[in-house]
């Protein structure tokens, strides 16, 4: 109830903040043309230079498209993606999702573009591994390397992004779509425990 109200408010706030129209001025734009504009935030070819922007390259197209549409309709919390996604038609978002799904994932740890190393705390990563092995591995297999059409990869994602994401999962002010079975686990963990899993996943490469 509470949650629903805050998203409605959020959406109307965005509408009030400026003009929002469905995109159609880019009908004849190539997939590269549409997608390369994202690189200013998500890095060249969708591999972020960190420390907080997520890498998006190589994620399954369905999952990317789903996220972009949820950003657009406000059902997934975002600070800025709602305003980005609203500039594109659903068709354009699908094209962009397909484009990024074909690019190669790049781990934060081995990213040639990164300026600062990810600030993974080894002690927290160890604590996080113990939790993840028990609570999360069932779906986020191989230490978060696994990804499929609905489960996102977490291994090798930038730490600051994972920390935000983990905190979002428990924040009653933000709406983040969660698998029912996952939510049951998340509900039982503290924000600090979830943040420890962020350190673990960020430390994983490959």
């Amino acid at each position: 109830m509470q949650k629903k109200k805050s998203t409605t408010l959020l959406t109307s706030a965005l509408l009030a903040g400026g003009l929002l129209l469905a995109g159609s001025a880019m009908a004849g734009a190539s997939p590269e043309m549409l997608s390369n504009t994202c690189a200013g935030c998500h890095g060249p070819d969708g591999v972020s230079a960190g420390p907080s922007m997520p890498s998006i390259a190589g994620m399954p197209a369905k999952h990317l498209e789903g996220m972009l549409k949820e950003f657009k309709d406000g059902s997934r919390h975002s600070t800025i993606m709602v305003r980005v996604a609203k500039g594109y038609s659903d068709e354009e978002l699908k094209t962009i999702a397909e484009f990024y799904s074909k690019l190669k994932w790049g781990d934060a740890k081995t990213n040639p573009n990164m300026v600062e190393d990810t600030k993974v705390d080894p002690a927290l990563a160890k604590k996080g591994k113990a939790i993840a092995d028990k609570q999360c591995e069932k779906c986020h297999e191989e230490g978060g390397v696994k990804q499929d059409e609905s489960t996102p990869r977490m291994a090798g994602q930038w730490l600051d992004y994972l920390l935000i994401k983990m905190a979002d999962l428990k924040d009653p002010n933000f709406k983040v779509p969660q698998e029912k079975k996952m939510k049951e686990k998340v509900d039982k963990l503290s924000v600090d425990e979830l943040k420890a899993t962020a350190h673990f996943y960020a430390s994983q490469a490959k």
Partner: protein, 436 residues
């Protein structure tokens, strides 16, 4: 016949001549087979244009001419003023671009001959081109305010081109008399980084709380409104930042500057403000070389076809970034003069250049811009623009600023903090896109 010519040509010149298959690019006898693309200026616009032309057409001979050995980023230079960041993390080099096979020349372009398709440099070199990209940024109009000049800026810094000016203003802030106001003279539209002066005001006011508790910030503005205004104004209130904004219509317009007396005079009543620290951001036009090359309109900016970023004044010359007139229009279908917009325009120009040189269709353009502003290290706001072209004109399909605090309810602090964190991420990614 054409079959035979094509095959022979391919055999003679190898892969580089593949572009001739379409018949669109035909190198004349006696010059290199690869199409030559020259880029003037290696900042947020030029460096990206060079990289994406090379990426799209590896056979092209791409030369980037930049007058400085190192590039110092304006974005996130306001945090440098208040000691939140170091100049080192603002400074970038051209090694990455060289690794992509781009010919980087450190020299100043002093002439553009659009008829002869040639640029000349201070160092006495000349470069012929098939396609030219011009991204020189802005020129500060020092003479536009009575009493101001390049020399005067050594006493009242602009810090609107990052580098020594940034460090000079930082030093002046640190040594200013506690109790004096920090005065920002804000320029009229259009200018580089519309939210920049107000971000600067916020960060300095935040810093003053601890370091100059008796001081405040006064913005003397030539304008009656500014970018992200509702968010800045409510942010100042929420954060207890002592910022006074005087709009142009109510005495904000500065008419005279006296460097010797450290005063500025503003408004119809000729009110005089005195301080030991005054930041004058003068009015702006397209970078000097754009004027030399005959690429500007009567307002001092470069008109381009928004579908391609090609100059409407000279064929085969593309103008992008702050200098370009599609950035900084004041109507709603415009992009601001920002680093992100420059990056986006660079990709539109590059795609069109690659297409033209390889005889392909470039398709429609797609533009994006976002600008983060930091009010305090835990409080960020942003604006986003997405757009394309409709009936030959720039068409913005989505633009909005971050939601107002009232609508964020209990999630407000986290939301603002997330945007401050993402601002740093934006910077690293766009710099990787530009220089890596």
């Amino acid at each position: 016949m054409s079959q035979f010519t094509r095959r022979t040509f391919l055999k003679l010149t190898g892969g580089a001549a593949a572009v001739t298959a379409s018949g669109l690019y035909l190198p004349s006898i006696g010059r290199a087979a690869a199409p030559r693309v020259v880029v003037v200026g290696g900042g947020y616009g030029g460096a990206v244009a060079a990289k994406y032309v090379k990426k799209g057409l590896p056979s092209a001979d791409v030369t980037l001419i930049e007058m400085n050995e190192k590039y110092i980023s304006c974005p996130l230079s306001n945090p440098v003023l208040v000691g939140h960041r170091d100049m080192k993390v603002q400074t970038w080099g051209y090694e990455g671009l060289k690794k992509h096979g781009i010919n980087v020349v450190i020299d100043e372009v002093t002439g553009i001959d659009a008829a002869a398709k040639k640029v000349t440099t201070k160092g006495g070199k000349s470069f012929e081109y098939d396609k030219l990209v011009v991204s020189p940024g802005v020129e500060l109009k020092f003479g536009a305010i009575e009493g101001f000049s390049a020399e005067a800026a050594e006493k009242m810094p602009h810090a609107w081109k990052a580098g020594p000016q940034t460090l000079l203003l930082k030093k002046q802030l640190e040594s200013m008399t506690d109790g004096d106001p920090f005065i920002i003279v804000a320029p009229p539209n259009p200018f580089r980084c519309p939210p920049g002066p107000y971000e600067r005001a916020s960060l300095v006011a935040h810093w003053m709380k601890k370091h100059k508790p008796k001081s405040k910030v006064i913005i003397l503005d030539a304008k009656d409104a500014f970018a992200k205004q509702p968010l800045f104004v409510s942010g100042w209130k929420e954060l207890g930042l002592n910022v006074e904004w005087k709009k142009g219509a109510e005495g904000g317009k500065v008419t005279k500057i006296d460097v010797a007396g450290m005063t500025v005079t503003a408004g119809d009543m000729g009110d005089t403000y005195k301080s030991s620290c005054i930041n004058v951001i003068p009015p702006q036009v397209a970078g000097h070389i754009a004027h030399v090359g005959g690429l500007v309109n009567d307002k001092g900016w470069c008109p381009v076809n928004p579908a391609t970023c090609e100059s409407t004044l000279h064929k085969d010359v593309y103008v992008i970034g702050d200098a370009c007139a599609i950035a900084g229009l004041t109507d709603k279908d415009a992009l601001p003069k920002s680093g992100y917009a420059a990056n986006s325009e660079a990709k539109v120009a590059a795609a069109n250049i690659v297409a033209a040189l390889s005889g392909k269709e470039a398709g429609d353009p797609s533009y994006a811009n976002t600008c983060y502003s930091i009010l305090t290290p835990d409080y960020g706001i942003s604006v986003a623009h997405i757009g394309g072209v409709s009936e030959g004109k720039l068409k913005i399909t989505s633009t909005a600023i971050s939601p107002p605090s009232a609508d964020l309810g209990a999630g407000k602090d986290t939301f603002r903090k997330q945007e401050a964190i993402y601002a740093e991420g934006w910077y690293q990614s766009i710099m990787a896109d530009t220089f890596a």
